[in-house]
Symmetry: C2
Subunit: 272 residues, 2 copies
């Protein structure tokens, strides 16, 4: 299946732009899971069973599994396999921020798309389109290029001016115009400033944008939805991680955020 179709189909069927980040840090999951032979997977399975109706995607942060070595990698794979078997319509995103040159990327493609079985991976742009071809050529998978991040030091390099345009916006344009010939690209836009999200949207057409966080991390839900929504009233994957998976009732936190996103998404539709 074309990955763009998978995202669009899921958004249509489940009416949600919410992504839950299964950032299941072994030190933060409830203590009783740590006695399980597969603690991260056991925790993820419970979260998935509770929240699956409210999401278009699950995102897993590779580092938090790699930190446990081969055991963590095995549980990352178990989680993706569980989703493939039980909920094959939900998009799976590996937040691994990879990128190398030449045939090395073939190794990452095999690891993330094939062995782990993810639908999508996040990628660093610095080595250029040519280097990322092993990812971009996979028309059955998403390449999600890091464009803008919201960490305190993000501006150090991302805001450098290139022909009067900040580097991050230059990258957004290049991905939209040059890298996306298979229609399988997305961008990571950490929306500390809603105006920046609006700038990206104006330049990339209806391309889906991955928003790493809302709330404390990245402005209000309303601002993100209104600035980032595309002409189809979708094109966003809005992630929340710890505020949901470590909530007292994860399903309730997920439903609440899904509804809040939809409120602005649909209200905007009526206004427009």
């Amino acid at each position: 299946m074309n990955p763009t179709d998978k995202y669009q189909n899921r958004v249509s069927q489940a009416n949600t732009l919410l992504c839950i980040g299964l950032d299941s840090d072994i030190r933060q999951i409830p203590r009783h899971y740590r006695d399980d032979p597969f603690p991260q997977f056991a925790f993820n399975r419970v979260i998935i069973d509770e929240t699956r109706d409210y999401v278009c995607a699950y995102k897993m942060n590779s580092a938090l599994y790699e930190a446990r070595g081969d055991r963590g990698m095995a549980e990352l794979k178990m989680t993706v396999s569980y989703l493939q078997e039980r909920h094959p319509n939900i998009v799976t995103i590996c937040d691994a921020k990879r990128a190398d040159i030449g045939s090395t990327n073939v190794g990452y493609v095999e690891a993330i798309y094939d062995w782990l079985g993810f639908d999508a991976v996040t990628l660093h742009p610095y080595l250029g389109k040519q280097a990322l071809q092993p990812f971009l050529q996979r028309g059955d998978k998403y390449s999600i290029v890091v464009c803008r991040t919201a960490n305190p030091g993000a501006r150090e390099l991302q805001d450098l001016q290139v022909d009067g345009v900040p580097l991050w916006l230059h990258i957004a344009e290049r991905v939209a115009q040059e890298w996306n010939s298979r229609g399988n690209c997305m961008l990571v836009v950490g929306a500390a400033e809603p105006s920046e999200l609006r700038d990206v949207r104006q330049r990339v057409g209806d391309m889906p944008l991955f928003i790493p966080g809302v709330g404390a991390q990245a402005g209000s839900v309303q601002q993100v939805v209104e600035a980032g929504i595309n002409t189809q009233r979708n094109g966003l994957i809005i992630n929340a991680s710890r505020s949901i998976i470590f909530a007292e009732e994860p399903w309730r936190a997920a439903r609440k955020l899904r509804d809040e996103i939809n409120q602005y998404r649909i209200r905007g539709d009526n206004n427009g």
Copy 2:
């Protein structure tokens, strides 16, 4: 031990700037290793036993191990452990090109520095110094920041002009001036053009530079050594991978390249 000391001590003791890349792609290693229960490790062990006297460092390309999932990760760890036990003076480099934001990097630090046990890791610069603090703060380890690559499409973003200076050179200056407060930074400089390597050297003082390849990939050994050597007649880690590990006699190929590097390194010393 301070990692800079580890590199300097090894260079002094073994008189070599050569790094061998254990890019032991499972499809390329000799067929008889594939019957071994730990094929990548079995191959690496033989290469290490043959070539250890000629290197200052071994580099492993994480992707080529991740491609085999948890089994590959386990064999990557076995290889590093073997080096730690038998040859603790040789620097171990994980060519993983990582970088994320916030606490996520803590996961990579734990995976690469602690669980796998590497001395060094390659990093993407795009998220800025602040994001990379979990790596940079580890004064017992090297942070090797990707500055310049030699792939055909490298110029797409790396050559963008920032205040009249190409982005890659701007990054070299920032790392040398701002990121290297613990003296544990290095740069990846893929030297397609020796003049670019010279430009980097002029801006970063005696900081060690990791050169991903010589020969077909990146100009002659002579050009690389003469352009990149520092005032101490070292400060280079010159990598060769397949040309050595898949040679008929790896030890002979390693010794030959070590000697060729030293020829220009020492000749320049006499001239200067």
